[in-house]
Protein backbone atom coordinates (compact mmCIF):
# COMPACT_ATOMS: atom_id res chain seq x y z
CA UNK A 1 0.00 0.00 0.00
CA UNK A 2 2.80 2.41 0.91
CA UNK A 3 4.54 1.59 -2.36
CA UNK A 4 1.37 2.34 -4.28
CA UNK A 5 0.85 5.67 -2.51
CA UNK A 6 4.49 6.58 -3.03
CA UNK A 7 4.28 5.78 -6.74
CA UNK A 8 1.14 7.89 -7.13
CA UNK A 9 2.67 10.80 -5.26
CA UNK A 10 5.89 10.47 -7.24
CA UNK A 11 3.98 10.75 -10.50
CA UNK A 12 1.91 13.65 -9.19
CA UNK A 13 4.98 15.62 -8.21
CA UNK A 14 7.16 14.69 -11.19
CA UNK A 15 4.50 15.76 -13.68
CA UNK A 16 4.17 19.08 -11.79
CA UNK A 17 0.44 18.49 -11.55
CA UNK A 18 0.78 19.20 -7.85
CA UNK A 19 1.72 22.81 -8.51
CA UNK A 20 -1.52 24.38 -9.86
CA UNK A 21 -3.74 23.46 -6.90
CA UNK A 22 -1.00 24.48 -4.49
CA UNK A 23 -0.62 27.89 -6.10
CA UNK A 24 -4.38 28.33 -6.36
CA UNK A 25 -4.81 27.44 -2.71
CA UNK A 26 -2.14 29.88 -1.57
CA UNK A 27 -3.51 32.70 -3.69
CA UNK A 28 -7.04 32.11 -2.41
CA UNK A 29 -5.89 32.09 1.21
CA UNK A 30 -3.82 35.23 0.82
CA UNK A 31 -6.62 37.14 -0.92
CA UNK A 32 -9.18 35.91 1.59
CA UNK A 33 -7.24 36.61 4.75
CA UNK A 34 -5.01 39.51 3.76
CA UNK A 35 -5.44 41.97 6.63
CA UNK A 36 -8.85 40.60 7.58
CA UNK A 37 -8.07 40.38 11.28
CA UNK A 38 -10.67 37.81 12.31
CA UNK A 39 -10.65 35.40 15.21
CA UNK A 40 -8.77 32.20 14.55
CA UNK A 41 -11.77 29.83 14.61
CA UNK A 42 -13.79 32.03 12.29
CA UNK A 43 -10.88 32.52 9.89
CA UNK A 44 -10.18 28.81 9.71
CA UNK A 45 -13.81 27.97 9.09
CA UNK A 46 -13.75 30.19 6.03
CA UNK A 47 -10.39 28.74 4.94
CA UNK A 48 -11.90 25.29 4.91
CA UNK A 49 -14.71 26.50 2.64
CA UNK A 50 -12.24 28.03 0.21
CA UNK A 51 -10.00 25.00 0.24
CA UNK A 52 -12.83 22.51 -0.41
CA UNK A 53 -12.96 22.99 -4.21
CA UNK A 54 -9.18 23.11 -4.38
CA UNK A 55 -8.86 19.84 -2.51
CA UNK A 56 -11.45 18.23 -4.78
CA UNK A 57 -9.66 19.49 -7.88
CA UNK A 58 -6.34 18.30 -6.51
CA UNK A 59 -7.80 14.84 -5.95
CA UNK A 60 -9.05 14.66 -9.50
CA UNK A 61 -5.66 15.75 -10.82
CA UNK A 62 -3.85 13.19 -8.73
CA UNK A 63 -6.10 10.31 -9.71
CA UNK A 64 -5.93 11.32 -13.35
CA UNK A 65 -2.14 11.45 -13.40
CA UNK A 66 -1.79 7.70 -13.77
CA UNK A 67 -2.72 6.35 -17.21
CA UNK A 68 -5.68 3.97 -17.23
CA UNK A 69 -3.54 1.04 -18.28
CA UNK A 70 -1.07 1.71 -15.49
CA UNK A 71 -3.91 1.77 -13.01
CA UNK A 72 -4.95 -1.65 -14.31
CA UNK A 73 -1.40 -2.94 -14.11
CA UNK A 74 -1.27 -1.93 -10.46
CA UNK A 75 -4.64 -3.57 -9.89
CA UNK A 76 -3.33 -6.82 -11.37
CA UNK A 77 -0.16 -6.59 -9.29
CA UNK A 78 -1.71 -5.63 -5.98
CA UNK A 79 -5.39 -6.41 -6.29
CA UNK A 80 -8.18 -4.12 -7.34
CA UNK A 81 -9.21 -3.27 -3.81
CA UNK A 82 -5.70 -2.28 -2.81
CA UNK A 83 -5.32 -0.17 -5.92
CA UNK A 84 -8.61 1.56 -5.16
CA UNK A 85 -7.66 2.32 -1.57
CA UNK A 86 -4.14 3.34 -2.60
CA UNK A 87 -5.42 6.07 -4.87
CA UNK A 88 -7.70 7.51 -2.23
CA UNK A 89 -4.97 7.34 0.38
CA UNK A 90 -2.59 9.21 -1.89
CA UNK A 91 -5.22 11.90 -2.42
CA UNK A 92 -5.70 12.09 1.33
CA UNK A 93 -1.98 12.45 1.95
CA UNK A 94 -1.70 15.33 -0.53
CA UNK A 95 -4.73 16.98 1.02
CA UNK A 96 -3.37 16.64 4.52
CA UNK A 97 -0.15 18.28 3.34
CA UNK A 98 -2.14 21.40 2.41
CA UNK A 99 -3.73 21.75 5.84
CA UNK A 100 -0.67 23.10 7.72
CA UNK A 101 -0.30 25.71 4.99
CA UNK A 102 -3.94 26.64 5.35
CA UNK A 103 -3.48 27.01 9.08
CA UNK A 104 -0.30 29.08 8.81
CA UNK A 105 -1.06 31.45 5.95
CA UNK A 106 -3.79 33.47 7.76
CA UNK A 107 -1.24 34.31 10.47
CA UNK A 108 1.36 35.34 7.94
CA UNK A 109 -0.93 37.78 6.11
CA UNK A 110 -2.62 39.28 9.13
CA UNK A 111 -5.85 37.39 8.74
CA UNK A 112 -5.97 36.32 12.36
CA UNK A 113 -5.94 38.62 15.38
CA UNK A 114 -3.75 37.84 18.35
CA UNK A 115 -5.59 35.87 21.06
CA UNK A 116 -7.00 37.96 23.85
CA UNK A 117 -7.43 35.24 26.45
CA UNK A 118 -5.17 32.33 27.33
CA UNK A 119 -6.14 29.15 25.56
CA UNK A 120 -8.02 30.98 22.86
CA UNK A 121 -5.30 30.22 20.33
CA UNK A 122 -5.38 26.50 21.09
CA UNK A 123 -9.14 26.32 20.74
CA UNK A 124 -9.04 28.29 17.52
CA UNK A 125 -6.38 26.00 16.06
CA UNK A 126 -8.29 22.89 17.13
CA UNK A 127 -11.49 24.14 15.53
CA UNK A 128 -9.57 25.09 12.39
CA UNK A 129 -7.99 21.64 12.21
CA UNK A 130 -11.40 20.02 12.70
CA UNK A 131 -12.94 22.14 9.94
CA UNK A 132 -10.19 21.29 7.46
CA UNK A 133 -10.08 17.59 8.31
CA UNK A 134 -13.84 17.45 7.85
CA UNK A 135 -13.66 19.10 4.45
CA UNK A 136 -10.91 16.77 3.25
CA UNK A 137 -12.72 13.39 2.93
CA UNK A 138 -15.69 15.04 1.25
CA UNK A 139 -13.38 16.81 -1.18
CA UNK A 140 -11.54 13.57 -1.89
CA UNK A 141 -14.87 11.85 -2.52
CA UNK A 142 -16.01 14.55 -4.92
CA UNK A 143 -12.68 14.64 -6.73
CA UNK A 144 -12.72 10.85 -7.05
CA UNK A 145 -16.21 10.94 -8.51
CA UNK A 146 -14.95 13.40 -11.12
CA UNK A 147 -11.82 11.42 -11.95
CA UNK A 148 -11.20 9.56 -15.18
CA UNK A 149 -11.40 6.21 -13.42
CA UNK A 150 -15.05 6.89 -12.66
CA UNK A 151 -16.35 8.78 -15.68
CA UNK A 152 -15.87 8.04 -19.33
CA UNK A 153 -15.59 11.60 -20.57
CA UNK A 154 -13.33 14.39 -19.30
CA UNK A 155 -16.30 16.72 -19.80
CA UNK A 156 -18.41 14.70 -17.38
CA UNK A 157 -15.57 14.91 -14.90
CA UNK A 158 -15.48 18.70 -15.04
CA UNK A 159 -19.27 18.89 -14.83
CA UNK A 160 -19.33 16.68 -11.75
CA UNK A 161 -16.61 18.74 -10.10
CA UNK A 162 -18.22 22.10 -10.83
CA UNK A 163 -21.74 20.97 -9.96
CA UNK A 164 -20.46 19.41 -6.75
CA UNK A 165 -18.76 22.59 -5.62
CA UNK A 166 -21.68 24.82 -6.60
CA UNK A 167 -24.02 22.41 -4.86
CA UNK A 168 -21.98 22.64 -1.67
CA UNK A 169 -22.31 26.41 -1.71
CA UNK A 170 -25.99 26.54 -2.72
CA UNK A 171 -27.46 23.67 -0.74
CA UNK A 172 -25.25 24.41 2.23
CA UNK A 173 -26.79 27.81 2.88
CA UNK A 174 -28.47 28.40 6.22
CA UNK A 175 -31.98 28.25 4.77
CA UNK A 176 -31.41 25.27 2.51
CA UNK A 177 -34.20 22.71 2.39
CA UNK A 178 -31.83 19.87 1.58
CA UNK A 179 -28.62 20.59 3.48
CA UNK A 180 -28.00 16.85 3.88
CA UNK A 181 -27.58 16.55 0.12
CA UNK A 182 -24.10 18.07 0.26
CA UNK A 183 -21.20 17.85 2.69
CA UNK A 184 -21.59 20.35 5.56
CA UNK A 185 -18.73 22.63 4.58
CA UNK A 186 -20.68 25.86 5.05
CA UNK A 187 -22.35 24.56 8.19
CA UNK A 188 -18.94 23.81 9.67
CA UNK A 189 -17.78 27.36 8.84
CA UNK A 190 -20.85 28.81 10.57
CA UNK A 191 -20.34 26.61 13.60
CA UNK A 192 -16.66 27.54 13.76
CA UNK A 193 -17.46 31.24 13.77
CA UNK A 194 -20.04 30.86 16.50
CA UNK A 195 -18.09 28.37 18.57
CA UNK A 196 -19.39 24.83 18.05
CA UNK A 197 -21.05 22.85 20.80
CA UNK A 198 -20.22 19.22 21.37
CA UNK A 199 -23.48 18.11 19.79
CA UNK A 200 -22.84 20.24 16.73
CA UNK A 201 -19.37 18.80 16.36
CA UNK A 202 -20.70 15.26 16.55
CA UNK A 203 -23.58 15.93 14.16
CA UNK A 204 -21.50 17.73 11.57
CA UNK A 205 -18.73 15.15 11.79
CA UNK A 206 -21.22 12.35 11.26
CA UNK A 207 -22.82 14.18 8.34
CA UNK A 208 -19.47 14.83 6.65
CA UNK A 209 -18.24 11.28 7.11
CA UNK A 210 -21.51 9.78 5.90
CA UNK A 211 -21.52 11.98 2.82
CA UNK A 212 -17.91 11.06 2.11
CA UNK A 213 -18.69 7.37 2.48
CA UNK A 214 -21.57 7.65 0.03
CA UNK A 215 -19.41 9.55 -2.46
CA UNK A 216 -16.61 7.00 -2.21
CA UNK A 217 -19.09 4.14 -2.59
CA UNK A 218 -20.37 5.87 -5.71
CA UNK A 219 -16.81 6.17 -6.95
CA UNK A 220 -16.28 2.45 -6.39
CA UNK A 221 -19.50 1.64 -8.23
CA UNK A 222 -18.60 3.83 -11.20
CA UNK A 223 -15.17 2.25 -11.40
CA UNK A 224 -16.70 -1.19 -11.45
CA UNK A 225 -19.00 -0.15 -14.27
CA UNK A 226 -16.14 1.32 -16.24
CA UNK A 227 -14.03 -1.78 -15.71
Amino acid sequence: MIAMVRMRLGGFVRTARAVPPLVAGLVALVVLHGGAGAEAAEAYGVSAVVLFPILAWQTKLLLDTEPDTQRRLVAVAAGRRSEFVGGLLAAGVVGVALIPLALAVPWLVGGVTAPVRAGELGVGLAIGLWAHLLALPAAVGLGALASRAAVTSPLYGVVILVCGVVGVFVFGLRDSVVPWLVPPVLAVARASAAGPTGAEIALLTGHALLWSAVAIAGYAGLRRRRA
Partner: protein, 404 residues
Amino acid sequence: MVWQSPLVRLDRVWLRYGRRAPWVLRDVDLELGPGRSAVVLGRNGVGKSTLLQLAAGVLTPTRGAVRDRPATVGWVPERFPGDQPHTVRQYLTAMGSIRGISGSALTQTVADWTERLGLAAYLDVRLSALSKGTAQKVGLAQALLRPPDLLILDEPWEGLDGPTRELVPELIREVREAGGAVLVSDHRGETVRLPDAEQWTVADGSVSVVFPTIAGSVAPGGISVVELAVPAFRVAGVVADLRAAGHQVLRVRPPEPTDGAAETTPGPDVGSGEGPAAVAESGAPAAGAPPGAAPTSGAPVAVETPATPAPRAEPVSAAPVARPESAGDRAPGTGGTRPAGTPEAPAASADTAGPAPGGATPAAGVVSAGGATPAAPVGVAGGSPAGSAPLVGSGDRNGTGEAQ
Protein backbone atom coordinates in the same frame (compact mmCIF):
# COMPACT_ATOMS: atom_id res chain seq x y z
CA MET B 1 -4.84 -38.54 -19.31
CA VAL B 2 -4.47 -36.79 -16.02
CA TRP B 3 -6.22 -33.49 -15.68
CA GLN B 4 -4.77 -31.05 -13.24
CA SER B 5 -6.92 -28.55 -11.50
CA PRO B 6 -7.01 -25.38 -13.58
CA LEU B 7 -5.01 -22.31 -12.74
CA VAL B 8 -7.70 -20.10 -14.11
CA ARG B 9 -11.21 -20.94 -15.21
CA LEU B 10 -13.72 -18.83 -17.07
CA ASP B 11 -17.08 -20.12 -15.95
CA ARG B 12 -19.88 -19.25 -18.36
CA VAL B 13 -18.53 -15.77 -18.85
CA TRP B 14 -20.45 -13.10 -20.72
CA LEU B 15 -19.12 -9.62 -21.22
CA ARG B 16 -20.23 -6.39 -22.78
CA TYR B 17 -18.95 -2.87 -22.23
CA GLY B 18 -22.28 -1.24 -21.56
CA ARG B 19 -25.88 -2.01 -20.93
CA ARG B 20 -26.79 -1.37 -24.54
CA ALA B 21 -23.50 -2.46 -26.03
CA PRO B 22 -23.26 -5.70 -27.98
CA TRP B 23 -21.91 -8.78 -26.28
CA VAL B 24 -18.21 -9.19 -26.83
CA LEU B 25 -18.10 -12.63 -25.27
CA ARG B 26 -21.03 -14.97 -24.77
CA ASP B 27 -21.18 -17.93 -22.47
CA VAL B 28 -17.48 -18.67 -22.61
CA ASP B 29 -16.24 -21.70 -20.69
CA LEU B 30 -12.50 -22.10 -20.65
CA GLU B 31 -9.78 -23.28 -18.37
CA LEU B 32 -6.03 -23.33 -18.35
CA GLY B 33 -4.07 -25.71 -16.19
CA PRO B 34 -0.63 -25.48 -14.62
CA GLY B 35 2.22 -25.81 -17.05
CA ARG B 36 -0.05 -25.06 -20.00
CA SER B 37 -0.14 -22.25 -22.49
CA ALA B 38 -2.82 -21.03 -24.82
CA VAL B 39 -2.67 -18.75 -27.80
CA VAL B 40 -5.66 -16.46 -28.31
CA LEU B 41 -6.36 -15.91 -31.96
CA GLY B 42 -8.91 -13.96 -33.89
CA ARG B 43 -9.50 -10.95 -36.06
CA ASN B 44 -9.00 -7.38 -34.91
CA GLY B 45 -11.63 -6.22 -32.46
CA VAL B 46 -13.09 -9.65 -31.93
CA GLY B 47 -12.40 -9.69 -28.20
CA LYS B 48 -8.95 -11.19 -27.76
CA SER B 49 -7.72 -8.48 -25.41
CA THR B 50 -11.05 -8.57 -23.59
CA LEU B 51 -10.61 -12.26 -22.97
CA LEU B 52 -7.09 -11.72 -21.68
CA GLN B 53 -8.17 -8.88 -19.41
CA LEU B 54 -10.92 -11.04 -17.98
CA ALA B 55 -8.40 -13.74 -17.20
CA ALA B 56 -6.03 -11.17 -15.68
CA GLY B 57 -8.71 -9.69 -13.48
CA VAL B 58 -8.67 -6.31 -15.15
CA LEU B 59 -12.25 -6.72 -16.31
CA THR B 60 -15.18 -8.19 -14.44
CA PRO B 61 -17.56 -10.41 -16.36
CA THR B 62 -21.02 -9.04 -16.93
CA ARG B 63 -22.28 -12.55 -16.21
CA GLY B 64 -20.47 -15.63 -15.03
CA ALA B 65 -17.21 -15.64 -13.14
CA VAL B 66 -13.50 -16.13 -13.46
CA ARG B 67 -12.46 -18.66 -10.86
CA ASP B 68 -9.26 -20.04 -9.40
CA ARG B 69 -7.14 -17.13 -10.53
CA PRO B 70 -3.75 -17.50 -8.83
CA ALA B 71 -2.29 -14.94 -6.50
CA THR B 72 0.50 -13.77 -8.75
CA VAL B 73 -0.61 -12.70 -12.18
CA GLY B 74 1.70 -11.01 -14.64
CA TRP B 75 -0.06 -9.01 -17.32
CA VAL B 76 1.62 -7.36 -20.28
CA PRO B 77 -0.88 -5.04 -21.94
CA GLU B 78 -0.99 -4.58 -25.66
CA ARG B 79 0.28 -1.03 -25.30
CA PHE B 80 2.53 -0.28 -22.39
CA PRO B 81 1.56 3.05 -20.79
CA GLY B 82 4.76 4.90 -21.53
CA ASP B 83 3.30 8.31 -20.79
CA GLN B 84 4.59 8.38 -17.24
CA PRO B 85 7.16 10.59 -15.55
CA HIS B 86 9.15 7.78 -13.94
CA THR B 87 12.48 6.48 -15.13
CA VAL B 88 12.76 2.79 -15.92
CA ARG B 89 14.51 2.19 -12.61
CA GLN B 90 11.95 4.15 -10.62
CA TYR B 91 9.09 2.42 -12.36
CA LEU B 92 10.35 -1.13 -12.00
CA THR B 93 11.38 -0.52 -8.41
CA ALA B 94 7.93 0.83 -7.60
CA MET B 95 6.19 -2.05 -9.35
CA GLY B 96 8.45 -4.50 -7.55
CA SER B 97 7.56 -2.88 -4.21
CA ILE B 98 3.89 -3.08 -5.07
CA ARG B 99 4.41 -6.78 -5.73
CA GLY B 100 5.88 -7.13 -2.27
CA ILE B 101 9.57 -7.33 -3.12
CA SER B 102 11.83 -5.15 -1.03
CA GLY B 103 15.39 -4.33 -0.09
CA SER B 104 18.32 -5.90 -1.87
CA ALA B 105 16.10 -8.56 -3.43
CA LEU B 106 14.22 -5.83 -5.24
CA THR B 107 17.39 -4.15 -6.45
CA GLN B 108 18.75 -7.48 -7.65
CA THR B 109 15.50 -8.49 -9.36
CA VAL B 110 15.28 -5.20 -11.21
CA ALA B 111 18.92 -5.46 -12.23
CA ASP B 112 18.48 -9.04 -13.45
CA TRP B 113 15.45 -8.32 -15.59
CA THR B 114 16.76 -5.11 -17.05
CA GLU B 115 19.95 -6.91 -17.95
CA ARG B 116 18.16 -9.85 -19.50
CA LEU B 117 15.78 -7.71 -21.53
CA GLY B 118 18.45 -5.32 -22.68
CA LEU B 119 17.17 -2.42 -20.61
CA ALA B 120 20.29 -1.79 -18.56
CA ALA B 121 21.27 1.19 -20.68
CA TYR B 122 17.87 2.79 -20.17
CA LEU B 123 17.58 2.52 -16.40
CA ASP B 124 17.71 6.27 -15.88
CA VAL B 125 15.69 7.20 -18.93
CA ARG B 126 12.12 8.36 -18.46
CA LEU B 127 9.43 6.03 -19.72
CA SER B 128 8.03 8.79 -21.89
CA ALA B 129 11.34 9.02 -23.73
CA LEU B 130 11.53 5.33 -24.60
CA SER B 131 10.79 3.90 -28.00
CA LYS B 132 7.73 1.70 -28.34
CA GLY B 133 9.74 -1.50 -28.32
CA THR B 134 11.82 -0.51 -25.32
CA ALA B 135 8.71 0.49 -23.43
CA GLN B 136 7.23 -2.89 -24.29
CA LYS B 137 10.27 -4.50 -22.71
CA VAL B 138 9.58 -2.54 -19.53
CA GLY B 139 6.06 -3.92 -19.69
CA LEU B 140 7.46 -7.43 -19.91
CA ALA B 141 9.84 -6.81 -17.03
CA GLN B 142 7.17 -5.52 -14.68
CA ALA B 143 5.10 -8.64 -15.29
CA LEU B 144 7.99 -10.92 -14.47
CA LEU B 145 9.46 -9.19 -11.41
CA ARG B 146 7.74 -11.75 -9.23
CA PRO B 147 7.54 -15.15 -10.95
CA PRO B 148 3.93 -15.27 -12.13
CA ASP B 149 1.64 -18.25 -11.69
CA LEU B 150 -0.36 -16.91 -14.58
CA LEU B 151 1.35 -14.85 -17.26
CA ILE B 152 -0.88 -12.99 -19.69
CA LEU B 153 0.74 -11.47 -22.73
CA ASP B 154 -1.29 -9.29 -25.05
CA GLU B 155 0.55 -9.07 -28.35
CA PRO B 156 3.90 -9.28 -26.58
CA TRP B 157 5.93 -9.24 -29.77
CA GLU B 158 4.65 -5.84 -30.86
CA GLY B 159 7.57 -3.56 -31.47
CA LEU B 160 10.21 -5.86 -30.02
CA ASP B 161 13.56 -6.30 -31.66
CA GLY B 162 14.67 -9.66 -32.98
CA PRO B 163 16.60 -10.95 -29.96
CA THR B 164 13.81 -10.01 -27.57
CA ARG B 165 11.21 -11.60 -29.84
CA GLU B 166 13.18 -14.79 -29.60
CA LEU B 167 13.31 -14.38 -25.84
CA VAL B 168 9.55 -14.34 -25.40
CA PRO B 169 9.01 -18.07 -26.06
CA GLU B 170 11.85 -18.76 -23.67
CA LEU B 171 10.18 -16.71 -20.95
CA ILE B 172 6.92 -18.52 -21.60
CA ARG B 173 8.66 -21.87 -21.31
CA GLU B 174 10.24 -20.86 -18.02
CA VAL B 175 6.90 -19.88 -16.54
CA ARG B 176 5.38 -23.17 -17.67
CA GLU B 177 8.25 -25.21 -16.34
CA ALA B 178 7.77 -23.53 -12.99
CA GLY B 179 4.17 -24.74 -12.99
CA GLY B 180 2.61 -21.55 -14.23
CA ALA B 181 0.25 -21.04 -17.12
CA VAL B 182 0.59 -18.62 -20.00
CA LEU B 183 -2.05 -16.96 -22.10
CA VAL B 184 -0.84 -15.06 -25.13
CA SER B 185 -2.55 -13.27 -27.97
CA ASP B 186 -1.09 -12.69 -31.36
CA HIS B 187 -2.24 -11.50 -34.73
CA ARG B 188 1.08 -11.49 -36.49
CA GLY B 189 1.76 -15.17 -36.60
CA GLU B 190 4.47 -15.07 -33.98
CA THR B 191 2.80 -17.81 -32.00
CA VAL B 192 4.12 -20.31 -34.48
CA ARG B 193 6.95 -20.25 -31.97
CA LEU B 194 4.67 -21.91 -29.42
CA PRO B 195 3.97 -25.23 -31.07
CA ASP B 196 2.50 -26.97 -28.08
CA ALA B 197 0.10 -24.25 -27.00
CA GLU B 198 -3.64 -24.64 -27.09
CA GLN B 199 -5.34 -22.41 -29.60
CA TRP B 200 -8.27 -20.36 -28.39
CA THR B 201 -9.93 -18.76 -31.35
CA VAL B 202 -12.33 -15.93 -30.65
CA ALA B 203 -15.07 -15.31 -33.19
CA ASP B 204 -18.59 -13.96 -32.91
CA GLY B 205 -18.47 -13.85 -29.14
CA SER B 206 -17.54 -17.48 -28.67
CA VAL B 207 -14.23 -19.19 -28.27
CA SER B 208 -13.22 -22.42 -29.93
CA VAL B 209 -10.39 -24.47 -28.53
CA VAL B 210 -7.92 -26.65 -30.34
CA PHE B 211 -5.60 -28.71 -28.22
CA PRO B 212 -2.11 -29.61 -29.29
CA THR B 213 -1.42 -33.26 -29.91
CA ILE B 214 1.27 -35.37 -28.43
CA ALA B 215 4.27 -35.79 -30.65
CA GLY B 216 3.91 -38.85 -32.76
CA SER B 217 0.21 -39.17 -32.30
CA VAL B 218 -2.33 -38.21 -34.80
CA ALA B 219 -5.39 -36.12 -34.39
CA PRO B 220 -8.64 -37.94 -34.98
CA GLY B 221 -9.27 -38.10 -38.66
CA GLY B 222 -5.69 -37.37 -39.53
CA ILE B 223 -4.07 -34.18 -40.62
CA SER B 224 -3.89 -32.75 -44.08
CA VAL B 225 -1.73 -29.99 -45.38
CA VAL B 226 -3.24 -27.50 -47.75
CA GLU B 227 -0.86 -25.40 -49.73
CA LEU B 228 -1.88 -22.02 -50.95
CA ALA B 229 -0.24 -19.56 -53.23
CA VAL B 230 -0.93 -16.05 -52.11
CA PRO B 231 0.27 -12.71 -53.46
CA ALA B 232 3.05 -11.56 -51.18
CA PHE B 233 1.24 -8.47 -50.04
CA ARG B 234 -1.73 -10.53 -48.81
CA VAL B 235 0.25 -13.07 -46.81
CA ALA B 236 -0.23 -11.48 -43.41
CA GLY B 237 -3.96 -11.16 -43.88
CA VAL B 238 -4.37 -14.68 -45.16
CA VAL B 239 -2.35 -16.12 -42.31
CA ALA B 240 -4.44 -14.18 -39.81
CA ASP B 241 -7.68 -15.31 -41.45
CA LEU B 242 -6.63 -18.94 -41.51
CA ARG B 243 -5.61 -18.83 -37.89
CA ALA B 244 -8.83 -17.12 -36.96
CA ALA B 245 -10.64 -19.97 -38.63
CA GLY B 246 -8.86 -22.43 -36.40
CA HIS B 247 -6.26 -23.72 -38.84
CA GLN B 248 -2.62 -24.06 -38.12
CA VAL B 249 -0.40 -22.19 -40.49
CA LEU B 250 2.81 -24.08 -40.58
CA ARG B 251 5.11 -21.90 -42.53
CA VAL B 252 5.25 -19.26 -45.20
CA ARG B 253 7.95 -19.16 -47.79
CA PRO B 254 9.34 -16.09 -49.50
CA PRO B 255 8.11 -15.31 -52.96
CA GLU B 256 9.66 -17.53 -55.55
CA PRO B 257 11.19 -16.32 -58.75
CA THR B 258 9.00 -17.05 -61.69
CA ASP B 259 11.73 -18.42 -63.91
CA GLY B 260 10.85 -21.94 -63.02
CA ALA B 261 13.70 -22.57 -60.69
CA ALA B 262 12.65 -25.11 -58.18
CA GLU B 263 15.07 -24.02 -55.52
CA THR B 264 13.72 -22.59 -52.41
CA THR B 265 15.15 -19.70 -50.63
CA PRO B 266 15.62 -19.75 -46.93
CA GLY B 267 13.73 -17.06 -45.22
CA PRO B 268 12.39 -16.06 -41.92
CA ASP B 269 9.39 -17.79 -40.53
CA VAL B 270 5.94 -16.43 -40.40
CA GLY B 271 6.49 -15.05 -37.04
CA SER B 272 9.49 -13.03 -37.76
CA GLY B 273 7.42 -10.26 -39.03
CA GLU B 274 10.16 -9.25 -41.36
CA GLY B 275 9.23 -9.25 -44.95
CA PRO B 276 5.88 -9.82 -46.34
CA ALA B 277 6.08 -13.36 -47.47
CA ALA B 278 8.67 -14.95 -45.40
CA VAL B 279 9.02 -18.53 -44.63
CA ALA B 280 8.67 -21.95 -45.99
CA GLU B 281 5.82 -24.31 -45.91
CA SER B 282 6.01 -27.85 -44.85
CA GLY B 283 4.06 -29.45 -47.50
CA ALA B 284 5.45 -31.55 -50.16
CA PRO B 285 4.14 -31.56 -53.58
CA ALA B 286 0.52 -31.04 -53.22
CA ALA B 287 -1.86 -33.52 -54.58
CA GLY B 288 -2.41 -32.75 -58.12
CA ALA B 289 0.68 -30.68 -58.41
CA PRO B 290 3.22 -32.59 -60.38
CA PRO B 291 6.78 -32.53 -59.22
CA GLY B 292 8.72 -29.99 -61.06
CA ALA B 293 5.81 -27.81 -61.82
CA ALA B 294 6.70 -24.21 -62.09
CA PRO B 295 6.53 -22.33 -58.88
CA THR B 296 4.01 -19.66 -58.61
CA SER B 297 4.72 -16.07 -57.98
CA GLY B 298 2.69 -15.96 -54.82
CA ALA B 299 4.03 -16.81 -51.44
CA PRO B 300 3.29 -20.38 -50.53
CA VAL B 301 1.45 -20.89 -47.31
CA ALA B 302 1.05 -24.31 -45.80
CA VAL B 303 -2.03 -24.86 -43.74
CA GLU B 304 -2.68 -27.85 -41.63
CA THR B 305 -6.17 -29.10 -41.28
CA PRO B 306 -7.73 -32.37 -40.23
CA ALA B 307 -8.10 -34.64 -43.10
CA THR B 308 -11.38 -35.50 -44.55
CA PRO B 309 -11.78 -38.77 -46.35
CA ALA B 310 -10.46 -38.24 -49.79
CA PRO B 311 -10.12 -40.61 -52.66
CA ARG B 312 -6.54 -39.58 -53.25
CA ALA B 313 -4.93 -39.93 -49.92
CA GLU B 314 -1.61 -38.38 -50.51
CA PRO B 315 0.78 -38.27 -47.61
CA VAL B 316 2.02 -35.00 -46.47
CA SER B 317 5.53 -34.06 -47.14
CA ALA B 318 8.04 -33.71 -44.48
CA ALA B 319 9.58 -30.58 -43.25
CA PRO B 320 12.40 -31.25 -40.87
CA VAL B 321 11.61 -28.07 -39.07
CA ALA B 322 8.10 -29.10 -38.48
CA ARG B 323 8.87 -31.39 -35.60
CA PRO B 324 7.47 -29.83 -32.50
CA GLU B 325 9.94 -28.85 -29.93
CA SER B 326 7.95 -30.31 -27.13
CA ALA B 327 4.69 -31.98 -26.74
CA GLY B 328 1.85 -31.21 -24.50
CA ASP B 329 0.89 -33.58 -21.79
CA ARG B 330 -2.67 -33.61 -22.88
CA ALA B 331 -4.04 -36.12 -25.25
CA PRO B 332 -5.62 -34.84 -28.37
CA GLY B 333 -8.72 -33.15 -27.31
CA THR B 334 -11.74 -32.16 -29.09
CA GLY B 335 -12.32 -28.63 -30.08
CA GLY B 336 -14.75 -26.41 -28.37
CA THR B 337 -17.30 -24.31 -30.07
CA ARG B 338 -16.72 -24.27 -33.73
CA PRO B 339 -16.29 -20.78 -35.01
CA ALA B 340 -19.14 -19.54 -37.05
CA GLY B 341 -18.55 -19.78 -40.70
CA THR B 342 -15.74 -22.25 -40.45
CA PRO B 343 -17.30 -25.63 -40.95
CA GLU B 344 -13.93 -27.07 -41.60
CA ALA B 345 -12.55 -25.92 -38.32
CA PRO B 346 -10.54 -28.72 -36.86
CA ALA B 347 -11.76 -30.68 -33.94
CA ALA B 348 -8.21 -31.32 -33.07
CA SER B 349 -5.00 -30.24 -34.49
CA ALA B 350 -1.59 -31.65 -34.81
CA ASP B 351 1.68 -30.20 -33.86
CA THR B 352 2.68 -27.10 -35.54
CA ALA B 353 5.87 -26.41 -37.21
CA GLY B 354 7.97 -23.93 -35.46
CA PRO B 355 11.40 -23.01 -34.50
CA ALA B 356 12.91 -24.19 -31.37
CA PRO B 357 12.18 -21.86 -28.57
CA GLY B 358 14.96 -19.52 -28.24
CA GLY B 359 15.37 -19.33 -31.55
CA ALA B 360 16.33 -20.85 -34.59
CA THR B 361 14.26 -19.73 -37.43
CA PRO B 362 13.64 -22.70 -39.59
CA ALA B 363 15.27 -22.69 -42.92
CA ALA B 364 13.00 -22.45 -45.82
CA GLY B 365 14.87 -24.87 -47.96
CA VAL B 366 13.30 -27.83 -46.31
CA VAL B 367 10.52 -28.01 -48.76
CA SER B 368 10.33 -29.55 -52.10
CA ALA B 369 13.07 -32.03 -51.69
CA GLY B 370 13.66 -33.86 -54.87
CA GLY B 371 12.63 -30.98 -56.94
CA ALA B 372 9.12 -30.83 -55.72
CA THR B 373 7.12 -27.84 -56.54
CA PRO B 374 7.29 -25.38 -53.74
CA ALA B 375 3.67 -24.76 -53.97
CA ALA B 376 0.86 -25.44 -56.23
CA PRO B 377 -1.54 -22.60 -56.76
CA VAL B 378 -3.91 -24.39 -54.50
CA GLY B 379 -2.82 -27.82 -53.60
CA VAL B 380 -4.27 -30.17 -51.11
CA ALA B 381 -2.40 -33.04 -49.70
CA GLY B 382 -5.13 -34.61 -47.82
CA GLY B 383 -6.96 -37.59 -46.75
CA SER B 384 -4.39 -39.11 -44.54
CA PRO B 385 -6.09 -41.82 -42.63
CA ALA B 386 -5.96 -41.57 -38.93
CA GLY B 387 -3.08 -43.37 -37.49
CA SER B 388 -1.15 -43.46 -40.66
CA ALA B 389 -1.02 -39.91 -41.78
CA PRO B 390 2.16 -38.39 -40.62
CA LEU B 391 2.13 -35.27 -38.68
CA VAL B 392 4.12 -32.53 -40.06
CA GLY B 393 7.63 -33.57 -39.57
CA SER B 394 7.18 -37.06 -40.74
CA GLY B 395 6.11 -38.43 -44.00
CA ASP B 396 7.38 -37.73 -47.39
CA ARG B 397 10.95 -36.73 -47.12
CA ASN B 398 12.01 -37.47 -50.62
CA GLY B 399 9.44 -35.73 -52.60
CA THR B 400 7.98 -38.89 -53.99
CA GLY B 401 4.74 -38.40 -52.31
CA GLU B 402 4.97 -41.58 -50.32
CA ALA B 403 4.23 -41.71 -46.70
CA GLN B 404 6.90 -42.93 -44.41
